[in-house]
Amino acid sequence: APRRAGAQDAKSVRVLSVEDPFFFSLKAMVPEYEKETGIKIELESLSYDALQSRLVSAFVAKTSDADVIVVDQMWLGQYLDNGWIISLNDFIARDSELDLSDFIPEVLYSSNMWRGQIGTLPVAAYAQGVMYRKDIFDEFGIAAPPSKTSEEWTWTKYVDTLKKLEGKSFGGQPLFPTVICGSQPSPITHMFTQLSVSHGANWFKSFPTAPWDFSPQLTGPAWVKSVEVYRQLYKLSPPEAINYVWFDAGTRFAKGDIGMFYWWTPYFYLIKNSGYMTGKKSDVMEKYATAVLPKAEGVPQTVSIGGWSLGIPSSSERQEAGYAFIKWATSKATQKKMALWPDLNYQFSDFARASLYEDQDLRVIYPYLDVQYSMMKQGNGKITRPPVPGYTAVESVLGLSLNQLLTGSEDPKTALERTNSLFESILKGNLMIPYQKESFADSKDEAKALIGKLGKK
């Protein structure tokens, strides 16, 4: 049960969220919380763009009409550095009920920690993984991809597997081996960076290891290789994928003419349904399975981590109540209830808590939890898409370059070199090169240590 003490001073808590899947199930749980605590939860959902504009404007004006906000991992550093949200370290340290150690450390490290502060707690954590069509693989006698990371399951193998599906039809319908996201800037970056990080690519000379040096490193061979592979993947995708944003890829898979693709783990369940949040079963509902991501030869696997977390604006006057809500929303019990909420055909399994992956009730409904968990455990969001200040500016350049590379025939190396110098000038323009502020040695181990420290009651 949530700690009542902190919440008593407030009659209501205003929560500002995006409409990703967790929102719907969380919203379904809210009445229960309200009944339990007597606090009114004003849950407002906005589009991603609207949310960010609203929040930043409010921060600049030093006001806020929210007590709890959803924070993308990319915004965390900026919000904390600017003092727009508060660090939760003290709350957590004081809180005897919160079981911090249950959170997957890779998730907290990737999404919630910045310069030794826990700024947010994860309400929905994403990794990436592979989804494929069992029936199609069977039909063409292709071996199913593994559910455990192995040296065999490489990107080369992945591409080769896909190539077996090239030009094939299934159920009277022409088949596309895979589908990618091609839309700039974020979607293509999200998908591509999984590929590149798998190949060991690094964005910057030194980040997150101290001392920070943001000289871009896009010209390395891992980048070139990744671009080549991504190009291949696009050739194996429907051509219109060049314009696909996040959900387009999932929607396309759900339509049934895609053999296999990799994408954020929410799609593990999202593709069950046809149409977003409709609860209507899709054609592929019973026909797909999940697998772990391929890796690159000789490079340790790294998986992209994303998701949504909850934080407290520093301008809020109900921080206690806000924290109580966050604690409730990210608690094991609530998360489980959210996952067990049957409406919309069970659409929530984005757990940041390790224990939930072991939960039998959940494993029945979400059979892929093992795969997902293993992806999480290999996750490192800080390398995949470094959440550094000014990230979006470089992302937009990278996204554009990648998008151009998919359609054009330019040599990857030259294009990457050009992008690299654009990166450099943007980062210089943003006073990131040379880095003038204090660096922070940000490693998983440091994170685990901090978790241990704060979790110790």
């Binding site: 003092g83 219109e240 060049i242 979006t392 500016a393 006073l431």
Partner: protein, 309 residues
């Protein structure tokens, strides 16, 4: 313009004695000017000041350094500036021209007093009543390569559709965005032109018909000159609106593929509401304002050359 032959608008008589009467026109204009000044001065000055500072909300909450015209240099040298400017010009010039032409044609049809025309008019206005960003969604749906009505119609008409989809190909994406704007805003032209055509005195048209002018001649030599003022004005207003659009681009293509649909408005949006580079976006704002001002000033100069104001 004087649709009815009148003496040209002139001062409503000699200056009176009282302060109010002497300054009447200024007093009438003042509230709107004050109101607008109050609303616009702060943002404009805010932007002007910010444009000389390095101020990126992602880097820090406060302006970090005075950088002179660095932001302007950066904006002009940005990798996407030329492409965006080019696309923007294409969109705004082609958009206004086509919308005006089509709108005029529709206005002429609307003028015919046929039963049910008022319903037609009310229906026609629907496209403009949807938020542009939602219109973006609508056309995302219509253009969808795997279920879009428009794609299907193009296929059905044996017209070539790029494999990447209408929005996926650099050769069609800009035209597709243009079409969306035309779809949404042609009714605006149609209704405004319709209203101003209504004010053209019938007798003048009758005289022209008796002069045996063809409908085309009547349009070109009587109707259009008589609604010229209104036409000039809405062309100008629309031009500026298109010049600043970003919503449809945002939803439909995010400037892609490549830079083929990137517009100044979208770049502004990106720098402002995605990257939160306030300094840079302020500089870009002023650059845009200057560009549009130059274009509009030229346009106004030429269009109103022979007109009284």
């Amino acid at each position: 313009m004087h649709t009815t032959i009148g003496r040209s608008p002139r001062a409503l008589g000699p200056a009176g004695k009282s302060f109010v009467r002497r300054n009447l026109p200024y007093l009438l204009i003042a509230p709107s000017v004050v109101m607008l000044l109050a609303l616009i001065a702060y943002p404009l000055l805010f932007a002007l000041k910010s444009s000389f500072y390095f101020w990126n909300l992602q880097i820090g909450p406060q302006p970090l350094a005075f950088v002179g015209i660095d932001n302007y240099v950066q904006a002009l040298n940005a990798f996407d500036f030329r492409a965006a400017l080019g696309n923007t010009l294409i969109l705004s010039v082609a958009g206004t021209a086509i919308e005006f032409g089509l709108g005029l044609a529709i206005a002429l049809i609307l003028l015919r007093a046929l039963p049910g025309m008022n319903i037609v008019r009310a229906l026609l206005i629907l496209p403009t009543t949807i938020a542009p960003i939602v219109v973006g969604f609508l056309f995302r749906y219509l253009y969808d390569p795997g279920g879009g009505l428009l794609t299907w119609i193009l296929h059905a008409l044996w017209l070539p559709v790029p494999a990447e989809g209408i929005l996926g190909s650099p050769s069609t994406a800009l035209a597709a965005i243009l079409f969306v704007d035309i779809w949404q805003w042609t009714p605006f032209f149609a209704i405004v032109l319709y209203a101003s055509l209504l004010a053209v005195p019938d007798e003048i048209l009758e005289a022209a018909r008796l002069d045996r002018a063809s409908p085309w001649t009547i349009l070109m030599r009587i109707k259009l000159p008589l609604i010229k003022r209104t036409a000039i004005i809405i062309i100008m207003l629309r031009f500026m609106q298109i010049f600043n659009t970003f919503d449809t681009v945002l939803v439909l293509t995010r400037g892609g593929p490549g830079t083929s649909t990137r517009t100044l408005g979208y770049s502004l949006y990106e720098q402002g509401l995605v990257n939160f580079n306030i300094g840079l976006v302020s500089a870009m704002t002023w650059i845009t304002v200057l560009i549009v001002n130059i274009i509009v000033a030229l346009y106004v100069f030429f269009a109103f050359r022979n007109e009284e104001w």
